[in-house]
Amino acid sequence: MELEEMQTIWSQMSDQIEKQKKLTDKMIMMMTQEKYRKKLNRIAYPEMAGAVICFGAAILIVINLDKLDNWYTLVSGVLSLATLIVLPVLSLRFINRMRKINIAANNYKETLLEYAKIKKQFQSATKAGYYLGFILMFVILPVTTKILNGKDLFAETHSIWPIIIAIPVAIVFFVVFSRWVYRSYNNNINSAESLIKELEETN
């Protein structure tokens, strides 16, 4: 389709839309109210819910830190604690930065550049978050067993078979999982990167 043909179709469409105007004053003023925006920011809500869960788990570990009475449960506890705090803080920080973009004052190029930069960092952080989450899955096990049941997972496990089975399963799972994370996020990161490059070269 040539540009001229596109312009003709667009203007025909615009004429039709003009004839179908249907907004009322009441509808417009309703849209300006914060309370009618409940469906928005669908990405922010799961992130916030995730943060609440992570912080809750972190508080639980802090309160019960004295129960982690040997070096390996204590190391696992500290690692879990760090992951549970760092992950949500990172993602909430990015959401906050996205919200702070000055929509009213910026021009299209400035907004696009700022957004692409934040998006690229956000996607990279999310990708790293998946790997950290995978590690968390393992380090949190001895911690929760100790805190919730008072049992030492390492000292009180007498059979080595669960470990022999668990390690290869975990490796296979990790390989599949990493490939999925890589595929899901790299396209977005690369497209944001090329857009940043393109915009920075533009005067």
């Binding site: 469409m13 615009s14 105007k21 417009i28 300006t32 469906k39 920011n41 959401i95 299209y108």
Partner: protein
């Protein structure tokens, strides 16, 4: 005229423009409705800062386009495409099948462009001159020209591929 009345008049005058922007930047009806509402909300929030040093339509395009590109949305691998037949002409009895088909092709071309090109394309299709496109986008008029030539090339390549 009061602030609210003035604002509703402006929105009514430009409701078609907002509608067209939402069709370009979303892929399904739900997102489109959300974006429409968000644009009106952001325009209202920014309304006090509009000092009249540019045309109201220029200011409006700028805020609406900025809202469209910064909207927080969940990335989906395969989003449902908007049913153009239900979106462009909102009244079923006015459907013209052949026209709808051409519209679908037009939209497919626009969706194939990147975010910067999409914005430029929209403004060009809206009949804006290079100078006004430059004011809205922050590019220089000559750069707008260069980029539009590249878009034309890209569109031709898309046709060849199809």
């Amino acid at each position: 005229m009061g602030k609210e009345q003035e604002f509703t008049r402006i929105i009514k005058d430009h409701e078609g423009v907002i509608f067209k922007i939402t069709t370009i930047y979303t892929n399904n009806h739900e997102d489109q409705k959300d974006l429409y509402q968000e644009i009106v909300y952001q325009l209202w929030k920014a309304y006090d800062s509009f000092k009249g040093d540019s045309k109201i339509s220029t200011w409006m395009y700028r805020v609406a386009l900025n809202t469209a590109i910064t909207r927080l949305k969940k990335e989906k691998r395969k989003e449902n495409q908007i049913g153009i037949d239900k979106i462009i002409t909102r009244e079923i009895e006015q459907y013209d099948t052949e026209f709808e088909e051409r519209l679908k092709v037009l939209y497919a071309h626009i969706h194939g462009l990147n975010e910067l090109e999409k914005g430029l394309m929209l403004l060009l299709l809206e009949g804006k001159k290079y100078e006004e496109i430059a004011v809205i986008t922050g590019l220089s008029p000559s750069n707008v020209g260069t980029r539009i030539s590249r878009i034309k090339q890209k569109l031709k390549t898309q046709i060849v591929k199809k």
